[in-house]
């Protein structure tokens, strides 16, 4: 995993060149409008989300590469509408209800780079995904849908984080074969 700041910037222009420049992006100059358009398009495709959990916003390549300018780039719509190919998994397993759980390798590594405290929290994250101490709705993500919903999971931290909860956000996505998969989204420590 490249450092979240340095090497990634090298790719920014090359990535931007590959991006499709949508005229609506310029005329509206509304980041959210751009995001919505892209979100609908990517969701319409369905395939990516079902397979990888990466279907909400397909701006990873450009925005991720230009990490320090994310808000600016989002406002520009500087994100290619390219599909994100399925990425290797950091881990997959089953929770206590038999639901498959997945953590994307790339996503995990990127989060560790941005939040060093979770570097040693992979096992605890798995624990949260398998058998959380508490489960609640995620008020910062979209409302529940028939085939997709978001939840916040908590487990008690360990060692120097024993006074904290490890909080893990996850997305459940129902597949074409009606099987549900629980995708890791993000995690952080919160004081108990």
């Amino acid at each position: 995993m490249a450092n979240a700041r340095g090497p990634l910037r090298v790719n920014s222009c090359a990535t931007a060149r590959r991006s499709k420049l949508d005229r609506r992006t310029y005329t509206s100059s509304l980041a959210v409008a751009t995001i919505s358009v892209r979100s609908e398009r990517s969701r319409a495709s369905g395939e990516v989300e079902e397979r990888t959990g990466m279907g909400d916003m397909q701006m990873k390549s450009a925005v991720g590469a230009n990490t320090r300018f994310a808000p600016l780039l989002i406002a520009f719509g500087y994100g290619a509408l390219t599909r994100i190919a399925p990425t290797p998994l950091e881990w997959n397993g089953q929770d206590t209800d038999g639901i498959e759980c997945q953590i994307s390798h790339r996503q995990w590594q990127e989060h560790v780079a941005k939040r060093p405290e979770i570097e040693d929290a992979l096992e605890l994250t798995k624990t949260a995904m398998i058998a959380a101490e508490s489960v609640e709705s995620d008020s910062h993500r979209p409302a529940d849908e028939e085939r997709r919903y978001f939840r916040i999971l908590r487990v008690s931290g360990q060692s120097q984080w024993s006074r904290h909860f490890l909080v893990v956000s996850v997305k459940y996505v129902r597949q074409n074969d009606d099987k549900w998969i629980k995708f890791y989204q993000s995690c952080w420590y919160e004081r108990k």
Binding site: C13, A16, M59, P116, H140, W188, R191
Partner: protein
Amino acid sequence: MKIQALGYDPEADELDLLIDTDAPQAAEAVPLDAGVYIRRDPDSGRVVGAFIRGYANFLRAMLAEQEISAVEAVKAGLEKEFSAILEWQRKALRLSRDLVAHLGAQSGKDRHALVETLLTQAS
């Protein structure tokens, strides 16, 4: 207060920020308002960053110039940091608007060149 965007994760819809540091530090997260979480050293309490959950909604609210509650930020004694993040986002949006207005009058090729030049110089 020095704030820098560290990275946006479109899958999680989260934007990470660095505050008064040039590299990510281990931190606990304190949930405030509007999806903003302050990251601070669990021992010293020094603020080292933040992340914004539901960044699309946050941007939508900022673009609409909606009033954003700071109730939790005040409770946590992090009102100054919360306000600084809102102001940082406003500045970024103003810059975006200026650039978009400027680019709108140029050809596609020039737009590409300008954006890439800005990105390179700003890096």
